[in-house]
């Protein structure tokens, strides 16, 4: 047996983060296009809300068209984060996909950065779809400046929900438990945000609900769409959103384990 011992042993450079994120992003996009059920659920649920509330009577009862628009976007983003994102991360962790990616010469943070970026992009596209559909069904007319404002708030909303989702996959390892908890949190947060903020469950619950992630982000969203005036509560709600991103994000990064064992 012979071997080429004179083989050139040159230093190899690790892959630049941008290059790694580009490759991972393309792969994550391809995975997403093949996860049609999760994607359809995230897109169809907000569209469904818009369709069933398209009569003016329904709109008035449900809090007006800007509220319905905010609700639809929140519904979609919450589903993307707490159901879709958590399930994909938990599943890939159990399969060992992360371990395989970690032994490549790329900074480890790029693996999650690409996935989070993908969710944010999908969230923005979802919001755009909701805006277009709501302009047709609910006859919501937004000014030119409302579009970038909505996109910016969508970014914040996506980050709030994704940090919450990240803390879930950080604290819980089992994919089955994550799936169950994700679905529970999705329903609980949505109902707390909706019913709590509306006041139908009483004033005490209303005061609590408006500081939940859904309550806070909906207050900011509606103020940004000029449905309600920007006041002290809106500023505090905005700060609460940033606080959620920092706290949940910290928990999600600190306790996250790449392997399922």
């Amino acid at each position: 047996m012979t071997s080429n011992l004179e083989r050139d042993v040159q230093p190899r450079t690790p892959t630049p983060p941008f290059r790694a994120i580009k490759s991972l992003f393309i792969a994550d996009f391809l995975v997403l296009t093949k996860s049609t059920r999760a994607l359809l659920a995230a897109v169809m649920s907000p569209i469904y809300v818009l369709v069933i509330s398209r009569s003016s009577k329904a709109q008035t009862r449900l809090g007006g068209s800007p509220f319905l628009l905010t609700l639809s976007v929140t519904l979609g983003l919450l589903s993307l984060s707490l159901v879709s994102y958590t399930m994909v991360v938990a599943r890939d962790r159990e399969r060992g996909v992360f371990q395989r990616l970690r032994i490549t010469p790329t900074p480890t943070w790029t693996i999650m950065a690409s996935r989070i970026l993908m969710q944010v992009v999908v969230g923005e596209v979802l919001t755009l779809i909701v805006l277009i559909v709501s302009s047709q069904l609910l006859h919501v007319t937004l000014s030119f400046i409302d579009y970038p404002k909505t996109m910016l708030i969508t970014l914040l909303e996506a980050l709030v929900f994704l940090s919450l989702a990240q803390s879930l996959v950080g604290l819980v390892k089992s994919a089955t438990t994550i799936s169950a908890l994700g679905s529970f949190l999705y329903a609980a947060l949505l109902l707390t945000g909706l019913l709590g903020v509306s006041g139908v469950l009483g004033t005490t619950f209303q005061s609590f609900a408006k500081w939940t992630p859904v309550g806070a982000i909906m207050a900011v969203f509606q103020a940004a769409l000029s449905q309600s005036p920007w006041n002290g509560h809106t500023t505090l709600a905005l700060l609460a959103c940033f606080g959620y991103v920092i706290v949940f994000g910290f928990i999600g990064v600190r306790y996250f384990r790449w392997e399922a064992r």
Partner: protein, 262 residues
């Protein structure tokens, strides 16, 4: 300071007094060994002996409690991404994204090793692995042999200096196993070094220049398969289990004990 890739006496991998523990259990207990450039080095051990954990520590997937891993002069604790750039790895439970086709996987891993792979390059690499007909199939749709060939193709994608293979021929038929040995030997002929774990004594004798027998996280003995047989052929523990002429399997069972491990 930029770390340089240097080879002292052509040692590609140096493990010094490595300890990996999981709570109270020491999975790797003070292991020291060296793998030379151009060498095929086999790790033999019963289930739970610490083979995969040792490989995981070299790969940077588990953090050692103490000791050092040095690959081509680079410190495992400080230069992890640089080490990953010169390592090729095929994991025991290789798991790629199930939704991607194998050509998409090759493109992804090419990108992660900073190698631009156009369609032609992907096609030719799949052809070289005998997988051109399967380019649109997903990983799970491949046979066991095809999965191993893809794992090896991806492990070799950046022409690594050191290839780590965790039970590369487990579950393969004899034809696929022989073909894989050919790939491993070709890699060595090209100047690469290979560290593999195996349960197959036949594999250890056929392809490995040296083997280490590991049990309970400790290296029991290291030498060429031939020398190991010679060295231990008069050991009473080995003679007790030998059926006729002493084989590597007799040495292995004699030194690690006959009880079944889970």
């Amino acid at each position: 300071m930029e770390a340089e890739v240097t080879l002292n006496n052509r040692v590609i991998l140096s493990i010094v007094d490595l300890v990996v523990d999981f709570g109270q259990t020491k999975a790797v207990d003070g292991v020291s060994l060296e793998v030379n450039q151009g060498e095929i080095f086999g790790l033999l051990g019963p289930n739970g002996a610490g083979k995969t954990t040792l490989l995981s520590a070299i790969e940077g997937l588990v953090k050692p409690a103490s000791g050092r891993v040095v690959v081509a002069g680079l410190d495992g604790a400080k230069d992890r991404t640089k080490i990953n750039a010169i390592l090729g790895v095929a994991l025991q439970s290789t798991s790629f994204q199930a939704e991607l086709s194998i050509s998409q996987l090759v493109r992804l891993y090419g990108g992660l090793y900073n190698i631009e792979m156009n369609s032609g390059a992907i096609r030719s690499s799949l052809e070289s692995a005998g997988l051109s007909e399967e380019s649109n199939k997903r990983f799970k749709q491949l046979s066991g042999g095809q999965q191993q060939r893809l794992s090896l193709l991806i492990a070799n994608i950046a022409d690594p200096l050191l290839l780590l293979l965790d039970e590369p021929t487990a579950g393969l038929d004899p034809q696929s196993r022989r073909k894989l040995w050919g790939v491993i030997e070709q890699n060595r002929r090209d100047g690469g070094s290979i560290l593999l774990t195996t349960h197959s004594m036949e594999e250890a004798q056929s392809v490995c220049d040296r083997v280490a027998i590991i049990d309970h996280g400790k290296i029991i003995t290291v030498d060429s398969p031939k020398n190991l047989i010679e060295k231990h052929s008069s050991d009473p523990r080995v003679l007790k289990v030998a059926r006729g002429q002493v084989t590597l399997e007799d040495v292995f069972i004699g030194l690690t004990g006959g009880e079944i491990r889970d």
